[in-house]
């Protein structure tokens, strides 16, 4: 484990930036968001960013390729840009876990090379959460905010930053920062972790359990009468899906540029009325089916296909942002507490 005095934090960021593009959470009037670091930018003190860190591997819109049309010939133009080395600093445990959820989708055969390139070129510096808030429930899914993972795990105290490499990739970056940091014991971090775990245990959602859900529970919940009441006031907007670190659905679209085509992919949302529209129409006719899809995917379908891993990481963004405050916590409490059929 290495230790950095906090008065050298700017020097650390500058040193990382010398070889990698560095992104970190910065405060804005609309909340914290990841921005490219440059001299003068300071690390946000907010617990988490409004948008999740998935943007760096699975951006909201991404140009896949361009087609240039001249007469009867079509030229394919490579527009790929995902080969830049970058460091993502200050990623919370929930978002770090979301990368595992996304990996199982995008790195499964056939491998999504756009996503894979970004993953290969990115180094994650995670950050332990000393002050988790009421909407946090990462513990429900077995995530430990005191042990945030990533390539380098960080803990911050009032005067120092502690860094521990978890992967070779992380070790290489950490080694390059040796002149700024010093070796240290784990004593301070252990002490902080004890405090964090005590705080996690006292959170209002600490007792939320996912036990009732998981692999193979489709029949148990699919026709539950509770979906009607749960989905009743859903506006059908895409806020929950777009702030979610694990939602991974996308659409590929062609944009007519007048002299060719720009082919891009963009996030899509199962909450939208035209999502997965096929020649036969939209298979999910009302908001009830669309709403059910999102939560069944997180709690049942994804675990069924991925060794029991849930595709919710308990970051609480949907809890904070849903315009009508309907969210996965309320769904789990309503369905999980019912008499099982």
């Amino acid at each position: 484990m290495r230790k950095l005095s906090l008065d050298k934090l700017d020097a650390l960021f500058a040193a990382i930036s010398a070889t990698n593009t560095l992104y970190l959470p910065v405060d804005t009037k609309a909340g914290a968001r990841f921005e490219r670091w440059e001299s003068g930018k300071t690390l946000s003190t907010a617990l988490n960013t409004v948008r999740s860190a998935k943007d760096f591997f699975f951006p909201q819109t991404e140009n896949l390729m361009d087609f240039k049309v001249e007469g009867k010939s079509i030229e394919i133009i490579d527009t790929r840009t995902e080969s830049e080395d970058f460091v993502l600093f200050g990623v919370r445990a929930c978002d770090v876990k979301s990368f595992e959820v996304l990996d199982r989708v995008f790195l499964a055969d056939p491998v999504d090379t756009y996503y894979k390139n970004r993953r290969d070129h990115g180094v994650i510096f995670s950050m332990a959460c000393t002050r988790p808030v009421e909407s946090c429930f990462c513990g429900t899914f077995g995530i430990d905010a005191a042990n945030p993972g990533g390539d380098v795990a960080c803990h911050m105290t009032d005067d120092a930053l502690y860094l521990q490499a978890n992967t070779d990739k992380g070790q290489r970056v950490l080694d390059s920062l040796d002149s700024l940091t010093e070796a240290c014991t784990t004593e301070v971090v252990d002490e902080q972790n004890a405090l964090i775990r005590e705080r996690l245990a006292r959170l209002p959602l600490a007792d939320l359990s996912a036990e009732a859900f998981g692999s193979g529970k489709t029949a148990e919940y699919f026709d539950a009468p509770e979906w009607k009441q749960l989905s009743e006031s859903c506006l059908g907007c895409g806020t929950c899906t777009f702030v979610c670190p694990t939602c991974q659905c996308y659409d590929i679209k062609d944009f007519n540029t007048g002299h060719g085509v720009k082919r891009f992919r963009c996030w899509d949302s199962c909450m939208y009325s035209e999502f997965t529209k096929m020649s036969a129409g939209q298979p999910r006719l009302t908001q009830l089916e669309r709403f059910r899809q999102r939560f069944m995917h997180k709690l049942v379908y994804y675990p069924t296909n991925n060794d029991g891993l849930f595709s919710c990481v308990g970051c609480g963004r949907c809890v904070a942002k849903c315009p009508i405050h309907m969210n996965i916590v309320k769904v789990m409490k309503t369905l999980g507490g019912r008499e099982h059929a």
């Binding site: 609309a30 705080r199 506006l235 963009c266 309320k330």
Partner: protein, 330 residues
Amino acid sequence: MQEVKREALIARAAELLENGTVDRVLGWKAGEFDYDLTPALFHSAGELESDFVWNGFCGANFSKYLVKETGKSENKVLVFLKPCDTYSFNQLLTEHRFSRDRVYAIGVPCEGMLDAGRIKDSAEGIASVREDGDHVLVETLYDGTLTLDRTSLLPDRCRNCKSKKHVAYDELLGSDGEVLDSHRFDEVEQLERMTPDERFAFWQNELSRCIRCNACRDVCPACTCEKCVFDNPNSGVENKAAANSFEEKMFHIIRAFHVVGRCTDCGECSRVCPQHIPLHLLNRKFIKDIDQFYGDYQAGAEVGSRAPIVNYSAGDLEPYEAVERGGSDA
């Protein structure tokens, strides 16, 4: 603090359920925390007693829900309307979007709603929120109990409340207020004083945060098209993403144009925006222009009024006059 208490709302709703005037009640349902209320239907006095909430977090405007709700049954649904909600209610009636005879509307006075986001700006980790007169007591997870000034926690739409008067109801609980002399156009005037380049930069910055979640459109009581052009894959402007920053702006500006003369300035668009984009300012600019060019007009003030924009009179100004009267930068 709200003048009329939760118990009074529940008591009256229970009576109306009991005597068969209505068979369901559209209200705010308690959540996990004190601030995360969900619009919900209540069918019995028992359900109301256990889950119905009336407090400073009842910001959601129920008017738009009536479009769907009145289509479900011929029986009346009871709805609670705050003053600003009643304008949306009237505007939807003007547009024949729901049947008035399937609704029983109770007006409730409103002292301004609280913005949970503003509370979170001051308090990290909220264990509970309690209103106490002009103050809001926030019990936090780490910093004890904070006493915050209630006024400082109001969202912009309540700071610049345009009316405490209910313009529609079957019955009113408590006392009615007045149309207020608000300062709601002050920010629009600030934008008008900018140079076109400054104004462009302002909106570029604000709208660049848009994630195209469509929450603003989906919550908007003026947006009740059965099929939105932005949901139509054949329109070429489908909602899924912006191919470039121009498209991002196009969505919001087209939407603002589409609700001109129909937007009642309820402020729901800005309340629900996950990226804190001040969308209401686009609509307010149009409202201000209509007031200035065609005479004062408030959408939803009464049922059946024709907005200047869909009405013709011989004295209507010509486009060049609008430019002149609006000043060189208009």
